[in-house]
Each structure stands twice: as structure tokens, then as C-alpha cells.
Amino acid sequence: MKRFLAVTLGILTAFGGFVDIGDLVANAVVGSRFGMSLAWVVVVGIIGICVFAEMSGRIAAVSQRPVFDLVRERMGPRAGLVNLGASFFINVLTLAAEIGGAALALELVTGLNYLLWVPPVALVAWLVMWRVKFETMERVFGLAGLALVVFIVALWQLGPDWGELTTQLVRPPQDEGVPTYLYYAIALLGGAMTPYEVFFFSSGGVEERWTRRDLVTARANVFVGFPLGGVLSLTIAACAATVFMPVAAEPDSLGQMVLPVAQGLGKVGLGVVILGVFAATFGATLETALSSGYSLSQYFGWQWGKYVVPGRAARFHVTVLASVIVATALILTTIDPIKVTEYSLVFSAAALPLTYLPVLMIANDPDYMGEKVNGRFSNVLGSFYMVLLLVVAVAAIPLMIATKAGQ
């Protein structure tokens, strides 16, 4: 049991990457429009995030310092500031969407408009970050988010045509244009490898006081958490491909994307999936809000973290609180949380090299890593992904404009 609980950091982090509010709806949209033909992107995303999260976990365990702390030191203040600006902007944008997502989940339970739930969600999230221990927080929301496994049960219960789903893997639909296909591929990759994951994961490692002896735990978190998130992501797409694609219905809301679970498993399944959605989006709220505090504090060299009493990390907690207030205000303007997150996925994709190049460089620096620098395999994979991420970063914004955000 203790070993199982040791991987909850990886599970919680992976939910932010694969099944937060943006990914939940994006996966359902992709499944309904492209079937399983974009599944390969999720696999590419799983391998990519595993490669870089393993590096950042190793950096945290060996140096006992999180990635962002080292980015400024290794790359200099200017490059660090560009990195900070891009990731902080995406963080706050995503935080707004996650608060909205958790509020939307409560709307599905109560029928009350989600805007009424936004302030309570934000308040409770802030209280949790202020009062609850890091380890308790990651265990509660990491484990509750596992309720999303209900999608796997629902898919089995829906009895899909497995042959058809397999055929879709290699055959994109003919009526969708190539630019739209590529736009969604980039959005999925941007979601899977979203920048705050590595900052949160490495900072979480420091919060849990990982040392060299915890390298196995760090790797277990990576190789259990992220593939699990990826499998859930694929299952959501498969449910949508089974229920929505044959009737040309395209989900654009949280309520619509959980419909296959209600059809397959009834009220109990519906209750479980809404619990999972709430836990995943609330967990991602904590992840993004804390990541804002982590990145800013680590850049400026302030005391940070939940492992010290709040009074000793006052600027860190003020940053977290300010981010929550700004994000709440943004979502209370009635801007659609789903739209916010769709754009943040693409902005994430555009900022990916800024995040992952420093991770690759630091993981190769013997001054920080000693004998635990990257091996040849990690470097080959890391270099391949850097080239891929550069292409993705260049193509992301033009494709968004050309396809009117995938319309």
C-alpha cells in the first residue's frame, strides 16, 4: 500500500497533462471527429513526457533543487525570464480553465449554474493549498481522480466494434482536412506535455524531500502516472468514437463528453465519472496554482513550498493567492472555460521548447548531476523530441489561425 501511495504525485501530475478540463473535452472532440486516428499522438506524448519528467525528477532527487530554480542559474536571468513569462501566462490561463472545469462538474451534480460555483471552488482550492499538507493533497486528489477509470468500464459496457476502432488507428476520416488534423495533433501533444507538469513534478519531488535514494520512487511516479493518464485519454477518445462519431455529434461541453458513461453505466457510472472529473480538474487547479507560485518564487530566489510554514514562504503564498484571484476574475467574466483551455493547449505547444530545452541541458550537466547525467538513450530520445517540439512550436499558432481553432 505504501508503495502504491508513493506514486500519487505522478498520478496527480499526469491528470494535469492528460485529463484536465481541456484534455477531457479535446479527447472527446478528437474521438468524435477523427475516431482513433490521432491515438499515435497520445502515445508520442506519453513517451515524451515520460522522458522529460524522468529527467526533471532525477534533477530534483540528485540536486534537491527543482528545475526552474536551475533554469535561471544555468541559462541566465534573461532566458529564464522568457521561460518564466511564457509558462506563467499559460499557467494562469489554465488555472482559470481548471477552476471553471471543477465548477462545471458541480453544475452537473446540482443543476446550479457553474458561475455560482466558481468563487467557492477558488476559495476551497486556496484553503487546501494554504492548510493541507502536500502529501495529503496529492494522495486525496490523485486517488479520487482514479474514478475516471470508469471510462474504461463504460467503453467495455458500450460494446464497441473493436475491429472498427482498430481500423481507425491508421485511417483518418476523409472529410476532415489535413490542417485540421494537424491542429488537433498539436493540441493533443501540447496537452500531454504541458509545461507546468515538469515544474510541478520536480517541485513536488523537492516538497517530498527526494534524495538520490528516491530515484526509484521518482521513476515509478513517471512510469505509472503518465501512462495511466495516457490510457484514460485514449479511452475517452474511444468512447466518443463509439457513441458520437457514427451520428456525427461533436461534444463541446463537459456534460456532453460524459454522456457515453451515462449511456453505458447509468446513474452510478454518471456519479462516479463526475466525481472523477471534479477530482481531476480540482487537482489540476491545485497543480497550476502551485506551479505559478513555484516558478515565480524559484526565479526570484524566494523561499517557496508547502514544506515550510506559510509565514516563512509568504511571497510564494501571495503569488499563489494572486494567481487564484486573477484566474477567478477571468472565469467570472463568463468566458467559456472550455474555449480558454483550448487556446491554452495551443499556446502550451508553442512554448514547449522553452520548457524542455533547459531540462535537457541541466540533465546533461555534471556540475549539477554528477554521475547521474543523462545516458545515451535519454539523450537520443530527448534530442529527437527537441526537434519535434521545435516543429510543433513553429506550426502551432499559424495552424490555429488557418483552421479557426480547429473549426
Partner: protein, 147 residues
């Protein structure tokens, strides 16, 4: 003279904002394409409403209400957006009438179902499923003709 590099961010932001706007119809072909897209979106919303009615006993009341409310909202916004596009010719007027007749009918039907759901539940679910299915097919056919 403003350096070109400084013009890039505002230009990108403007392009981004414009990418989310509804553009006017340039000619009959463009208008027909918009009509097809409108019918497709409306058919999708009707199919979600149909699923809610068809699987009503497998859902909780608040959930069914939320999904039906979203369908009404989607249909309303589809009507508003397409209704706001200027048809460029008489031929386009006919397409406009055909599309709006179906989308407005869809909005009214789903709105009626929402009202019934909020009261004592849908009176005749089988008939509602049948009607919504027929309406969704008509909208899909229309979308297919104007692709």
C-alpha cells in the same frame, strides 16, 4: 519608424481575435458553406438532446437539465450567428429560409423538452425521440447538400 519585430505581437493578436469571429459571406458559394456548417452544428445539438431523452432513465435530473440547456443554448447561438450573416443574392435567401426554418424548429422543440423536463419529465419520450431523430436527419441532409 516602428521596427517590424514590434509589429509582430499586435498583428498576431489581431489575427487570433479575428480567427474567432464570424466572417461575412463573400458570395453564394461561401454563404452555402456557412449554411452547411450551421446545419451540421444544429444537427449535433439535436442529437445530444435526443440522447438525453432516449436515455433519460439512466441519468440524474440535474444532469439531463444541464445537457438540454446546453443544447438550447447551442441552437440559439447557431440561429443568431447564421441569422446575422447577410445573404448575398435571392438564391441565398432561399437557403437562408430553409436553414432557419429547421434550426428554429429545432430550438423550439428542444426548448419545449427542457420545460417539460424541469416540470414532471418528458410527456411522450418515444415521440420526442422519433421527432428529434427525424429533425437531425433533415439537418444532416441539408448540411450534406451544402458541403
Amino acid at each position: 519608424m516602428i521596427p517590424p519585430a514590434r509589429l509582430v505581437p499586435p498583428a498576431l493578436l489581431t489575427a487570433l481575435l479575428l480567427s474567432g469571429c464570424v466572417s461575412p459571406a463573400w458570395d453564394d458559394h461561401d454563404y452555402a458553406l456557412k449554411a452547411g456548417k450551421t446545419a451540421e452544428s444544429a444537427a449535433s445539438a439535436v442529437r445530444f438532446a435526443r440522447s438525453v431523452v432516449a436515455y433519460r432513465d439512466r441519468m440524474t435530473g440535474p444532469y439531463a437539465e444541464v445537457v438540454l440547456t446546453e443544447a438550447v443554448h447551442d441552437l440559439g447561438s447557431v440561429n443568431d450567428q447564421f441569422g446575422g450573416v447577410q445573404p448575398p443574392s435571392d438564391a441565398s435567401d432561399r437557403i437562408r429560409d430553409e436553414v432557419l426554418r429547421l434550426t428554429e424548429k429545432a430550438e423550439n422543440e428542444v426548448e419545449d423538452l427542457l420545460i417539460q423536463t424541469r416540470r414532471d419529465g418528458v410527456k411522450d419520450p418515444a415521440a420526442a425521440v422519433r421527432d428529434l431523430g427525424r429533425l437531425a436527419s433533415e439537418l444532416s441532409d441539408l448540411a450534406e447538400r451544402h458541403k
